[in-house]
Symmetry: C2
Subunit: 252 residues, 2 copies
């Protein structure tokens, strides 16, 4: 019996999110069905976080416990032959018993992509929010500064979220322009439901002149979802990186 840490990438377009749902195509459900075929018994897959329907991952991390089955170093190859094209296994290794894909995380980075162009690119419109109106990037960068640090993110969390403690820390919130694309990288201790999407939606509102950068401070203080800006669409969001403490991987 061993615990395996697996890194996967997926195109979230055709999934109803990461978390398993009866009768719906999900990332967790797809992985568990294939691992059950490999293991000959049900296998529970735990992810570093649940991504919503339409959200992508460059590096989602999951773990599962396997009794027997193929050697870990063959796992990526075997899974790559069995998984559908929109999930790609990147790396597998044995992990210590202390490792937990969700609870061991130190920090996570999400990337949000906006395409600023008159005509959207058909090859990236599954992965980018297409905006035709002008965006004041300088103001958006000014606003981004106010999100960094430890804050109560109640205003930037789906109102329906049952979690009590909405205090989170954002380590970095950077905007990078690359040709017609604007990438927003957000690194934090953890994220509430829709948190990155509401932060991005609010930055876009500011870029379009609906708010001024300093309004972010007022929004955070309000602790009321209705005071913050809009929620950016899921398709531009991508789980970019998950960091764990060293020493939880077992080299074989």
């Amino acid at each position: 019996v061993r615990k395996i840490k697996l890194e996967i990438a997926y195109d979230g377009t055709d999934f109803h999110g990461f978390a398993k749902q009866k009768e719906l195509r999900t990332v967790q459900g797809t992985l568990e069905a294939i691992l059950e075929r490999i293991a000959g018994r049900p296998v529970e897959v735990l992810g570093s976080g649940r991504t919503d329907a339409g959200v992508h991952a460059r590096a989602q991390v999951v773990h599962f416990v396997l009794d027997g089955g193929p050697p870990t170093e063959k796992m990526v190859y075997i899974l790559s032959r069995m998984l559908p094209r929109d999930i790609v296994p990147i790396r597998a290794c044995d992990a210590s018993n202390d490792f937990h894909a969700r609870f061991s995380t130190l920090q996570k980075t999400y990337r949000y992509t906006i395409q600023r162009a008159t005509v959207e690119d058909v090859f990236s419109n599954r992965y980018a929010w297409h905006i035709t109106s002008a965006l004041d990037i300088v103001r958006m960068k000014e606003a981004a500064v106010h999100f960094v640090g430890e804050h109560d993110f109640t205003s930037f969390c789906a109102a329906s979220t049952p979690i009590q403690n909405k205090i989170r820390t954002i380590f970095e919130l950077n905007l990078e322009e690359h040709e017609t694309y604007l990438h927003i990288f957000c690194t934090g201790s953890g994220f509430l439901q829709n948190m990155v999407r509401i932060i991005v939606g609010t930055l876009v509102d500011i870029g379009q002149g609906r708010y001024v950068p300093f309004d972010v401070v007022r929004m955070l203080e309000a602790q009321d979802r209705r005071i913050a800006g809009k929620t950016a669409p899921a398709l531009g969001l991508c789980m970019w990186n998950v960091v764990y403490p060293e020493g939880l991987e077992i080299s074989t």
Copy 2:
């Protein structure tokens, strides 16, 4: 009554090719159905060329004749609201009666994309042929030279093609590396069925050491499909550019 020249981009993954087929989702069929709604009567759409199932287009050009309907300058906006996400209208203009999307072409460029990496990228695996084995790019470039010029491309054409005249001219065949991607740009007077895909498949065979660069000359001379290399998969191919003589567009 006016003739409209329309440039479109599409992600070919979920289409059964460009050409209309009963009961199947095709680019031509999708366009004609929407134009019929706009025009209130059937509209025939003619393309610069038929792309196979899975082949993409950055710039396919089509024409159609419209009696009434919205002004041409609003066409892109109207179509962008009505077309599915995997077809994007780029540009529309009025064309002279002499213009024909297929017969007026001077030259066409296709781009073929290969991803060379241990792990494929889930965000480009709809658009690139993923190759893990080593490719000798220098030899592939040496081989490419032999395709340029006027040749009988019988060996590089699907054997079932009914067309008699298989003489075509390739103006340029360039390999460009960009990070883990290899782009093969092929510009010619016109292309036979599967021609670019067989040229690319043969270049890959040469890159993998199955043939030497000069074998291309022997393959062209053989005029026999069985002598050339494999057919590269459709998904890496993209109609990149179509050039027409000047003076066939009407500025409004």
